[in-house]
Symmetry: C2
Subunit: 209 residues, 2 copies
């Protein structure tokens, strides 16, 4: 996109409250920047073709097409039909994002010993897309922005703490008309959110009108 | 399962031809052993709840529940509802199996430069379940038995060669009534099958009657 086209964008800033989710529509070329305000908050991120909620951004297909666990700045993610869906225009973070751990869900917290209902990323996704009247077929593997899961030589996966700094951010650009959804991960039992969930900021760049 | 119960099983041996797929039903406690006859052949493996083809074995949920990339001997895989579905009763191989690379599909081969139709694991799954009249909702991330995808420190994924020996095998036991499906991966462009697909053997242990 040219600098002129980006200049013409209108930027809206939204606070995504700790532990909650949000879905929004982006037209081709529009962007969203996810700001990790405290440097320790994981944001589960999904994208779907705007015209078909069963056509989703796919981490497993992106890993093959990119030959990488997660895309770098300048790279992109593809769908389960191997079609480009989101570009990484900017990654102002250590570039440590997870693509292999399923979204937390109600059962995850039961398995962790919770005896009361607990918010989850899977429920946040369902609530967020329902709020904009968008139907999805399932909860795909998310792009877990800022999530740090070290992989040991013996295949063990560690629930690490985010390695970034306050204000780290990632800018994603729509490579087609999409619905994107975010969950400010409510996990407060493992250390993946640095001990407890915190608000994050979304900066949305849209064309006027 | 007791030794007596296993003694009572009837073993059927099936050759899975290079590049082709097969689906079969296993009742709770029944087992299948996948034999990598030449030591270099990847076998994409899926499992579904017998009563609901939308309830599938999930690598992403298994990674979380196991805190490992793939289960070890004595471990198990869970579904996308975090319910146990397959146990690993025996792993007579180096234990290097992939859980992060999507099944190859027609588009994968187009992207690799193929100008003619190419068999794929995704098509093999669809054909295999159709052949037994079983409906599935999608192609889940497979358990890619014997597949060697080294993960570099910079997040790069390498298309490695299998590290095993002829006759390596893995025995999977059904933890509920299931449909399991296998694809003898037809990939012959990257080195993941040691240069070209080869037949593998399935040993199926069922209760009499």
């Amino acid at each position: 996109m040219s600098a002129e086209a980006l200049d013409a964008m209108i930027t809206e800033t939204v606070i995504l409250p700790a532990g909650h989710g949000l879905a929004l529509r982006l037209a081709l070329g529009e962007r969203v920047t996810v700001v990790c305000d405290n440097g320790k908050q994981v944001v589960d991120t999904w994208a779907f073709a705007a015209e078909d909620g069963s056509h989703a951004m796919s981490m497993e297909h992106s890993r093959v097409e990119n030959s990488r666990l997660c895309a770098k700045e300048g790279g992109q993610y593809v769908t389960d039909r191997r079609e480009p869906i989101l570009a990484v225009d900017r990654d102002a973070s250590p570039g440590i994002h997870d693509t292999i751990m399923a979204a937390c869900d109600a059962q995850r917290y039961v398995n962790l010993g919770c005896t009361h209902p607990h918010r989850s990323c899977a429920d946040n996704l369902h609530e967020a897309v329902a709020a904009i009247g968008f139907a999805i077929a399932r909860v795909p593997q998310p792009l877990n922005l800022f999530m740090n899961i070290p992989i040991e030589a013996d295949q063990r996966l560690v629930q690490g703490m985010p390695q970034g700094a306050p204000g780290d951010h990632v800018t994603l650009r729509a490579l087609r008309d999409v619905v994107v959804a975010f969950s400010c991960c409510p996990q407060d039992i493992t250390p993946i959110n640095g001990g407890g969930p915190a608000d994050v900021t979304l900066r949305i760049e849209r064309r006027p009108g």
